[in-house]
Symmetry: C3
Subunit: 141 residues, 3 copies
């Protein structure tokens, strides 16, 4: 019986390491992307914007826009049972680099214990007239 | 014998999970990047453009440029026995965000079953006067 | 005893494949990001700039700026016992695409055996008036 168990070892190893995939669809099925894709313990998260649900536009205040965007991003991650602390890399695109400090002050509050790596890049413009877009990769801790 | 088998378990685990690397070189050996790098079951793909092979420039039509770019991207992935459906995250840079719908209509046709996560970002300009550039990460399904 | 060993197999498999995380903090604890995060054998590296330590600004010469940036990037990777050859994907943002060849000539010298995949993208502007920013993912070879 033990010998037979050992025969299954390579299979178990393969199953243990091969990444099963789970997709988290977009709210709008017309859009050609998933909001998040989990493979193994790694979660890939789509670009998120800070949009006011009532107006469909970014709010007037830049700090509130950052908060809305990060909350939407965290909500997507929560669907995969992850928190912002699980992020390992994010890229923030920003239409106005003078918002760097404003963004950082809001951003810091989204994390409990640690931060991911980050690039903070200027974009000439963003979809829907937003000031920021964030995309990321997380690994379950 | 069984005891001896158990001794190899940590080694097997390490081998099973450590990522072997395979590089897929660029057509032009002068260029300092690989077109794709496979590590374990994860494929990293370089930025691709939509260039007309005859002229060396992007085609006049924006939809045809998107098609050329995505076909070139899929061809690189095929070298690693992957399809667009294996993508988990892409970033599309676009020199003109008003092409969002045009791009999506072409993009959608490259996928059979599901989509990766995506960021769609404006770029002030792109190499060779292109309208789009795409980079991505895929995991063998 | 052997039977009891087999019971631990799933646990060992999980431990073997689950990614332990190690953070490499930024020099400035005020900044909300880690310079690098290692999970399993994958290293995520933050955006790096080419800043002259004496002036706090990018040097006048574009090639020297590229060298400073890549050396800073390699130094961060070295903290995780990795070299530039372990990179699998980088994104270079550049405020002036006419620097493409200048950048490539410097970039090439940072690698011994092989190159990562790469996107080379224009940015309208970069933090601290820099010409380049680089972000990347590496996997221990």
């Amino acid at each position: 019986m033990l010998v037979r168990s050992m025969i299954w070892l390579p299979v178990l190893l393969t199953l243990g390491c091969t990444a099963a995939r789970r997709d988290f669809p977009s709210d709008n099925p017309e859009l050609p992307f998933n909001k998040a894709v989990l493979v193994g313990d790694t979660l890939y998260v789509s670009g998120h914007l800070g949009i006011d649900a009532e107006t469909g536009k970014p709010p007037a205040d830049a700090a509130i826009e950052a908060r809305m965007m990060l909350d939407a991003f965290a909500a997507t991650m929560a669907r995969a049972n992850m928190t912002m602390d699980d992020l390992v890399q994010v890229q923030v695109s920003c239409s106005d680099l003078s918002l760097y400090k404003t963004f950082n002050d809001v951003y810091r509050q989204s994390f409990e214990e640690t931060f991911p790596t980050r690039a903070f890049l200027a974009a000439p413009t963003l979809l829907k007239g937003c000031r920021y877009e964030i995309i990321g990769i997380a690994v379950q801790r």
